[in-house]
Symmetry: D2
Subunit: 361 residues, 4 copies
């Protein structure tokens, strides 16, 4: 209720601050009998991990996850799964200057007004370091979904002004940007190198796709699949927009163009992005998210301190010049967590439903 | 859990089908002592009501709401508030043709696969008629928020290809489009008239703004104010995209441009849209939503029936050629419901917080 | 969250005051395809209905329920079910005296302090009239459970000082007390007649049993089946105690006596009351509840008014001299609602579980 | 949703098995600014800790708790609090015999049918070892409640056949039984020594009391304070019954006797146990709970194995002969957690309520 839990039937509750001793999560509601080990989680954690290229923060965290419960003899038991990652690279430094200042576009000012007290070291709870636990929990969801033939994948579709058309999944894992077009990578690298020289940051757009979904997931009217997905994606640090399928392009579309006609061979288009009436149609579920530029830049900015006095703020430290670069596995995790939650919700109520109508895709 | 409830502390649970006897809602968690009568709800219901101009469906529903509990001697008692609207204009007609067909871009196909059975009359539960109850409940939220100095308002910011820059709130209530620029109205009318002649439909973009918010609303990390708002807005029929503040424009922005600097006199810009780290900053909360074109058009479309056979579908009946036109009060309602819920959540935990730092806006 | 909802997957949200225009409920999460009509609900409503014998309140309410949504062509559709009962026998009377007084053992004093305002007519929301909606919703749950071979039944096991040993289910429906021993009925009638002459009231003990349960229902560690059942039963007006199986008798039992041994033919006893580790064992689920004597008696009592002054209170009106008499269908409803909720929760997570071990009962 | 979370606004989610590497919890919703250190939690953990007298299990666990997040510079920050206790005394032993057997009155049989797989080492998740985390979280709740003048305390009121009348709080902390009458302690010790010689176990009754409560806590109609308390207490391992105030004695009481009359000086009795209409009255909140005898005894018992074959089970290992002896701090924790949750829920909705009526106690 205080915001640290995601999901209703497959729930993830997290804790941990950027510079605290550890991050942790409890995953509750995972079906029993799923083969699971720490290695299953480590893959996605490594994809999200900082310090793997010169384009991300140089903080070095191994992000080694431990499973503390809920798995016995290699399979899940149906009881709650405790996860823990110890923080290892929290550099001790002098926070005396920053503790009374509000960095522009950060959560400093709002945490201060909400809680009256805040852990100012590295952003505390508001740091994107928290997303490591989303990725760990999301990996469990992904593994279960995979047993149902459902695959969740994402890629970068825009970096600053550079739009990236989807070319192939293979490429995504082979560059630091999750870029699906290998020919675009040099352009992205050049852009990032210039950005660092400019001491500035930039936004990005990520696309996420789930394939192999059955029709039927999503609970009208408020807990539509797309609504809960929007919730999950918008809850990621720095996200400022979410689209399903055609998204904002729908505004200028005509009904005769937007509607996805059906034939016995399948849907003829997918403007809907895989959701009709809040329920999965069996087509690929497609979402796009906009991430704002990193707020931490070394270019000085105007702000105030806790007493209301004007100050000039320079954010030093080790920061990602584009938080979007590491956001792909996080977005995948949130989509996977949304899907497994709705899969469990759907079958709770609709277990007995049988229809003869063929499924399209 | 099955999706018909919105909110956690101020909850709205709804029922009702397009052609059933009535729509209803239970609002739970409204603070006691709020002066409330049916007239307070009727205003927004009338703004959403069909049949008030030639640009919306000609179904005529008075949408007269009754308060059945939770209000005593003119004030709320703190107990659950029962709301009821009887359906009066459900024309009896022959559904024998439509009952076995799936209209393209409607929820027919997905409801069929999810539930195995569906009320096909007018879309049943998937009809946008359901949103009347959101508006009724939202009006209660708005009234309470108003006692705190918080005002929620919306307007149309794009109709199909026609972008509409905000001019003045006054104009919004004086035309059928919720258009904030009176000079644009003739263009909108001409566009809609042509659209009807084309037997087609079109999308729209709506913007919603809350002013007078205190800093502090929103629960990191998953129940951020913007995440819950995205959930609420995306749960509205036909919505395909949600933006907070700069939204997708953030992608191409640089950090030095996007970050909203602060001075003792206030924020210097509002790219964030009033939310930092998932918590309200005290600036106006700004969201934009994209609505797809109405799926029901008289131009024939390809589809299948429940047996998987190809059919040609023509959707007759009384439909809005642009569902976005009546969406403004619905979007306001969802923002108001999100805000009151977070207001209650915030004060539950943070009641005792006192800081001397001045609030900016 | 404000307390008017029961259940997590099969939820019942209610509204309505004793002397308001109507009572209502929304049942969400009912599986689709269940044949359902108002007649299915009316049976239990009639069992709970006041005024059917001289031993209950003489208020006469037909308690005619209407289904307003969620059922189409005779079966549930999986969408939310709206229920409504109009109040017809709220006598207008002069409340000027009672409105500023707190009746002893009633909720007047606590509602006043909690909400600052209260509907004092007949107890408002705190009246047991609210339980009609529990019974209506419970009847839906019962009908679904019956399709799974699960039957929920209750009986009176003590009236004031008179203990009633279980004899036969047949008898329960044939007297005004839900007494399972027909030979005891004259003694109960004589006791009640004397009680009325004494202008006093008395408590009662009700027992509820579910048979035909599969093993596996209940979610450790906090949402054990017995814990959620205790929640449901204790939420009934006037209930002061709940026991599962041997209940308080367990305190003086030895482990060698209490433990229910198992053989291939089944359990050898049922001290556990059908729950082990918070999960149903397949044995009959057995609960007992204690109801306090009705607070409304005509014998004068000492109290205070809203200004803190001493007053003498005489509660007139039409009251049950033993609220326990009509409590059996309510207790059954709460057990049925608990069970269907856990049935859905169980299968959401554990759908794929298959074991070869035989089930005992 | 899968049962490992307690509370709605102040939530506790736990994980951990008896013989796993660690137990953990996440406490979400704790108000910021509360001074808190590990020492605050250790006191109650030590009261619950095994191996402190010859009357409890000889397993030796230091139960040293670590706070991993949510506390900064000695005060809570309002973000989620991660807690961890490492298991140190899980003796490795041969489980080959026990793994395919169901111990009578244990959760073995039901976990097996529910999940298909179970951690059989020491009962896994069903072990009462899990309650350590309830106590740790409860200590946080207690500390916050204390700042509001609310004190939660418990004592043993019956051990097997020996009833214990309350004498003084001072005594409770000075013996191994939480016995409030020092003169009874020798009798309890003699009884326990004989019980061990008999190789048997016995039940107990615990009473819990909260003093200093304001009137107003509790959410009618389903989330009454007593209903949620019953849920919390019944969720403790081995609990088979819960009473509020007069409890089952209410059954034989007359209304003229049971009703607690009020005078300007206060209530004249407390049969209600501090709750009227599901809302705290300001009187002491009183609950009693019945704990069954420990199921693990060395006397052989009949059972079956996973194949349905009859087996004779002898439960060796280190077990409490009366689980009730260590239950007092656990019951206190559950009452404290229920109260803080309702305190937050109450003020969320009813913050603005002001009445002039004096409060009684």
């Amino acid at each position: 209720m205080s915001g640290n839990t995601f999901g209703k039937l497959f729930t993830v509750t997290t804790f941990g601050e950027s510079h605290g001793p550890a991050l942790g999560a409890i995953v509750d509601g995972c079906p029993p009998g799923l083969p699971l080990s720490e290695a299953d989680l480590q893959g996605d954690l490594d994809r999200r991990r900082p310090g793997t290229s010169r384009h991300t923060t140089q903080r070095r965290e191994p992000d080694q996850v431990r499973i503390l419960s809920g798995v016995f003899e290699g399979v899940t038991t149906g009881t709650s799964i405790g996860l823990l990652i110890e923080n290892t690279d929290q550099r001790s430094k002098d926070y005396s200057k920053i503790k009374d200042q509000f960095r522009p576009a950060h959560a400093d000012y709002t945490y201060h007004h909400k809680y009256g007290v805040r852990d100012y070291r590295g952003g505390g709870r508001s740091s994107a370091r928290e997303t490591a636990m989303r990725v760990a929990a999301g990996a469990i969801a992904k593994k279960y979904l995979a047993t149902m033939g459902i695959q969740v994948r994402g890629y970068m579709s825009q970096l600053g002004p550079i739009e990236i058309a989807f070319k192939e999944w293979q490429a995504v894992g082979e560059n630091a940007f999750f870029c699906p077009d290998p020919d675009k990578v040099p352009e992205l690298e050049a852009y990032m190198d210039q950005l660092r020289r400019d001491q500035d940051s930039v936004g990005a757009k990520i696309s996420v796709v789930a394939e192999g979904l059955p029709p039927g997931l999503g609970e009208p009217v408020f807990d539509r699949l797309d609504a809960d997905l929007a919730h999950g994606l918008m809850s990621i640090n720095a996200v400022k927009g979410v689209e399903i399928g055609a998204g904002f392009a729908s505004v200028a579309q005509r009904g005769s163009e937007h509607r996805d006609e059906m034939t016995p061979e399948g849907f003829l288009s997918n403007h809907a992005g895989g959701v009709l009436g809040g329920i999965s149609s069996g087509q690929p579920l497609i979402a796009h998210l906009a991430l704002k530029p990193t707020s931490s830049i070394t270019t000085p900015g105007r702000s105030i301190d806790v007493h209301g006095n004007p100050v000039e703020v320079i954010t030093k430290g080790r920061h990602d010049p584009c938080v979007g670069i590491r956001a792909t596995p996080i977005a995948e995790a949130m989509m996977a967590l949304t899907l497994i939650d709705h899969l469990l919700r759907h079958r709770a109520q609709n277990l007995d439903v049988r229809v003869d109508t063929p499924r399209l895709s």
